[in-house]
Subunit: 406 residues, 4 copies
């Protein structure tokens, strides 16, 4: 093939997002002070790359993202070029790319903890594409993407799946497994009731996950009625926290004011009643404390929403240190089990792929997907940050946008 | 209330089923040679009592059922009378009765192994209502039923549930939890493919269970097209083993000839191609060996179908001893995990009740339920034994049969 | 037997502990405003009743214990009298009494969650003997004890076990299962390293539990060298937090400063460096935050130490509400799994009994047990509260104290 | 380094074992009809390579081993040469080599099922070094060994560990994890009783594993008193099946004739009472049926002993097909859970390494290890086949045999 010298990518610089040219990637990376060859890597041509709520954390300056960061960790692509030690993938294969970068060779990867891979990030365990503090890996809101350890990381799926299923598959790179993982951590199973905090994209995926897991009553709370409509279409009982009292609403359905399981699909930047204004310590912890209060004795709490060990943009000293004022005495007394953390996407994406391909589940149609080109990304960031109840997906090569394709 | 002296019940005597009068039960039982008081027991007025495939084992003389056995282990009832140590139930409560009799006080019950309770059967661990070798407990195909350890055993549900849901609830006493348990033992979860052997009532319930558990492709094999139609309506891909090759059919759908999980919903009396004639050792083991062959390396096999430690009616010496000629070398080489055994109904019935009440699942409409009065039971036994693709449910007091009720 | 009218018991009144006479118990209790018969109950003659660290919470006024509370939730006894619905126990049987009072009939007990039984406490799920807010059940630091639901609750063990094993068995009522449960919740298993915060009795039992579970390196940190000596004798690597830096000490042994699992055997009343003086919010949360910092990415944290939903004696507003300032952002980023809560003793006591009887484990000899008579209890409370590195066990009838007995 | 052209290896040819020269390995393999490069591979200098009971299956002609097979799947080595895509290993590192060859990139490896890797064997899932039907991988009873996917497969351990620990570490390649896996599959945990069938090397390792897992009473049965002495030294209660009745012996210790868990450490070539003569179908199944009979209702059965899907050397038609006449009706009635299959060594070897290094466990001293040179291997095969109660370990470079080394 002819050599490509440049490619275009959504780039974050000092709080501004723009589309810039970058040198075409090679099968190598600058890592820990030296240039590391990646014979196990591939270059993907990006099919779809979603804009994610956690991109907004960087956009808003709530992380210490370095200069010139190429964004995009929710990627779907086609194998374009491969290294000498790639055995299972062929040029042209379509693949879903877990947002976690993982080596498949360290102790944690071997134990399926690909979210805390020991080899791909010098700061702490765990890497990601296009993300602050998560290693040197450029993101995929771009024409191309370098993926190391490709045999291990990539999930192959059939070419030419119908357009609607391709959109569902696009969510396998992050938020569908993330939401499913949160539901599993909360102990959701056949017949149980669930409260999902947040009707954003992760919350909607969580509704679908809870249905797959057999939950009976799935409540979803939010302050935005447009988002709640999405949740309701996905199968949830919506609760408008602006207008309804959470415990009362649950009691009116279940006859008791507590659910079996709670899932926090919001995270540390919850704004709740308080908008984006600078919040007190108790306001910052409100989502978690609400979930603790609404989950029954012996119930489970999953926390896929992102919390960070430092939050330089927080309004309080406690907040800056990544600390939260939690009603832990209550949680302990109720014997709740609680777990958060990044999702190890590879634990769930193959199962969810089969659930999608067999028609057992779907999510895209509840998410108000809007396909855009690369150049529309800066505008989409702005809209999403302002709360548009949409999921923007960048289709840099026009695979789905071109009339007549699939 | 006025004293009742007699009640009518379906009674098995020398291979013949008839409706006979018996003395009205007291809160006591003859156990291990002495009369044991049951202050923890209740007398139920039977709402519904299903005829079960495993009743046929006794009907056909494949067990050593004693004389005058009152049949019926799939019971749903209304609390009619209660003992001094019944705390949580009130007269008039509607309850589902797990087929296992369990004390709630022995080591096994405490560990949730109510299927092998140590206190209710002198022959071996595990008791059941109306069943050979399973203790002294009369069955519920009758006007009334004595249930010991009632607080522990009985699952209360709302009165006046709609008729269709009451029929679904009727399957919580045995075959829905049994089928669900088999699917769980087989490792069924989100996205996996399953082969269910047998499209009888347990097989149909297993299709519903696999859907609740999120399975992708659910195959169900049988030799009877009428039964397979039920399975298809429940959501399965039917395989007519008379006409289709099992592995080929699976391959045509999945692209490979093996499934992730196999469930044996048939048991030791499988007749398969061979009808009811006397079978060789390999024919007797055919269902299990087929499942071993069709389940992938590393897959799981659940065996809710009944196997017994002795089968006096078998045609071979090996068979009489409850032994089977299994391709265990293959199972070992494939690292299959296999588990059978009675279902501990209490492990699942509450979860499934909530799944039914919330509308997440249903089974009755796929089972061709036929409601009958007590006096029609002998005829129903004959028809069911001859293979009628129906589920007969006895409604001794006309709760659902009377026009105008619920 | 001759009627007994009175019995003597350790009684808490306005922060003072004394031995008083009370009317001999009957098989009934005042519950939820009415007198409830307990045909399933027994009266035990107390063999041994331990003084527990959590008794100190009440002694110090950190709970809202009612007037005239008979203390004692770590009880071992002999069946002295039994109700009409007790089937498995005989007069004279020796039994270990789980500190949790549980009915064995509610949804939670059926699911083995006896620590949050729904029937024995009107305030919230979960009951205990002799404990504030945990139901109307008198404690066992007394000559006799009423135990409801005796068949379900009591663990029978052989009479005439040797004296040293009887002392080990005395810890099956609470702290050995509690510590084991904490280790299990922390994910301790073969080959893993553990940090146990606190070398009090629960911490020492946790060392024994971690050995049973196959842990490799078991660190135990405390500020008191006398307590640390106990831990070292039990098999731990002691860390004197007054003199050594926790992370450095761990690193000197493991070559890295983090352990696989952390267990908080201290709870909300940790005093640490700060003694008993009134503490800031960060000091109150120090044990948990230290464990979060010392547990590796992907590790587990078990929290058997007690935390309460309200702490009227706390020095801060946050503290009074049972809230804690936790480095939750760090815990999330590390994907820690964390669980606290009361231990469901019945889940582990039988296994641990067999481990004791077979000689696989022991704890009493590391705990500096001091046997005392009832009348010495007030003095023991005082000493224990002042930090004596002993475990006081009341032997009200002189079973072990009398020369020549066992 | 100077080029090495030849190396010496234990080679099986037509039932005879001899030491032959072979061309020095390259980082490639003939696989599925083509030459496949292995940039992820290493060449190890063998430190220790054990002779295994399952080598005897091939030695005795019970498998279809091809001509010129280099034996040896229990290997420990030093990295001597490495491919371009080896990132975590350095020349000189000491490593334990799991007997399973696994790619770390296929669906099964990702799910930790390295025993049934999909990429390393064309016959069926799962590969091994030096083993019939397990792929093209030469064994390590040799001076050198080629290991593919080295970063993934190899477990690094400290150089210069003391000699006795090095011998323990030598068992991490197969039989210690295999035995531990069998115990885990049988459900062994704190306080449970276990019956281990077979006091050969796997049985002895299983005794050590059960101790690590906290079992109370560990029975081990065999027909050879010399082997039983090893088991007793390891901590088992020995049962000489030639002289003692199994159930009676168990009853004399436990007070009941059944154990909680059974582990079959024998496999399909059990000779039992019957010596090596040609056996009937029931004799071939005797070990499994005995375990079924001696395991309690609700207990677990682990089957690390090898069973194969075909046994050309069997005396009966049923046997040749890899079928067994099992008392499955009894197993079902008892609700036993049973699992066999190759052990995924990587699931346990790191945990067991830490247990060895910390001094928590050891096995070599109970196994009568005899270190030999390569040239002594043929004699050792003969002795081991005749039942010598020893474990032969080949030390081809004299690492442990040379006086003065480590």
């Amino acid at each position: 093939m002819a050599t490509i010298e440049k490619y275009r990518a959504v780039t974050l610089e000092k709080g501004t997002v723009s589309v810039r040219e970058h040198p075409f990637p090679k099968l190598q990376i600058d890592f820990d002070g030296h240039r590391k060859p990646l014979p196990h890597g591939v270059i993907l041509k990006i099919l779809l790359s979603n804009v994610c709520g956690s991109d907004m954390h960087m956009y808003r300056g709530r992380t210490d993202a370095g200069p010139g960061l190429i964004l995009g960790h929710e990627n779907t692509g086609e194998v374009f070029m491969k290294g000498a030690d790639v055995e299972t993938l062929e040029i042209g294969d379509w693949v879903s790319v877990p947002f976690n970068v993982a080596c498949g060779r360290c102790e944690n990867c071997i134990e399926r903890k690909t979210h805390i891979c020991l080899s791909v990030n010098t700061k702490w365990p765990g890497g990601a594409f296009g993300y602050a503090d998560m290693g040197p890996w450029p993101g995929g809101q771009a024409e191309y993407l370098l993926v190391p350890y490709a045999d291990f990381n990539l999930l192959k799926f059939p070419k030419n799946v119908p357009k609607d299923k391709l959109l569902d598959i696009a969510f396998l790179s992050d938020i569908f497994p993330t939401a499913y993982d949160g539901a599993v951590k909360a102990g959701v199973t056949t017949g149980l009731s669930v409260y999902i905090a947040g009707a954003g994209p992760v919350g909607i995926c969580c509704v679908a996950a809870c249905k797959l897991l057999g939950a009976s009553y799935i409540f979803c709370g939010d302050f935005e009625s447009a988002r709640l409509e999405n949740a309701a279409r996905a199968g949830a009982i919506p609760i408008n926290l602006e207008k309804e009292k959470l415990h009362d609403k649950i009691k009116s359905v279940l006859g008791k004011a507590e659910v079996d399981c709670g899932v926090d699909c919001v995270g540390f930047e919850s704004c709740g009643h308080h908008g984006n204004k600078r919040r007190t310590d108790e306001e910052r912890s409100e989502v978690l404390n609400t979930i603790i209060s609404v989950t029954k004795f012996g119930g489970g709490v999953g926390i896929p929403g992102l919390y960070l060990p430092a939050d330089p943009g927080a309004a309080t000293e406690v907040g800056k240190k990544g600390m939260f004022v939690l009603s832990f005495g209550d949680a302990w007394n109720k014997s709740l089990y609680m777990q958060g953390g990044q999702c190890p996407v590879m634990k769930w994406n193959r199962l969810l792929l089969d659930a999608i391909l067999s028609g057992r589940t779907k999510v895209a149609e509840y998410l108000n997907v809007q396909l855009i080109g690369l150049d529309e990304a800066p505008k989409a960031y702005k809209e999403f940050n302002e709360g548009a109840p949409k999921k923007f997906i960048i289709d840099p090569h026009g695979v789905l946008r071109t009339p007549g394709t699939k």
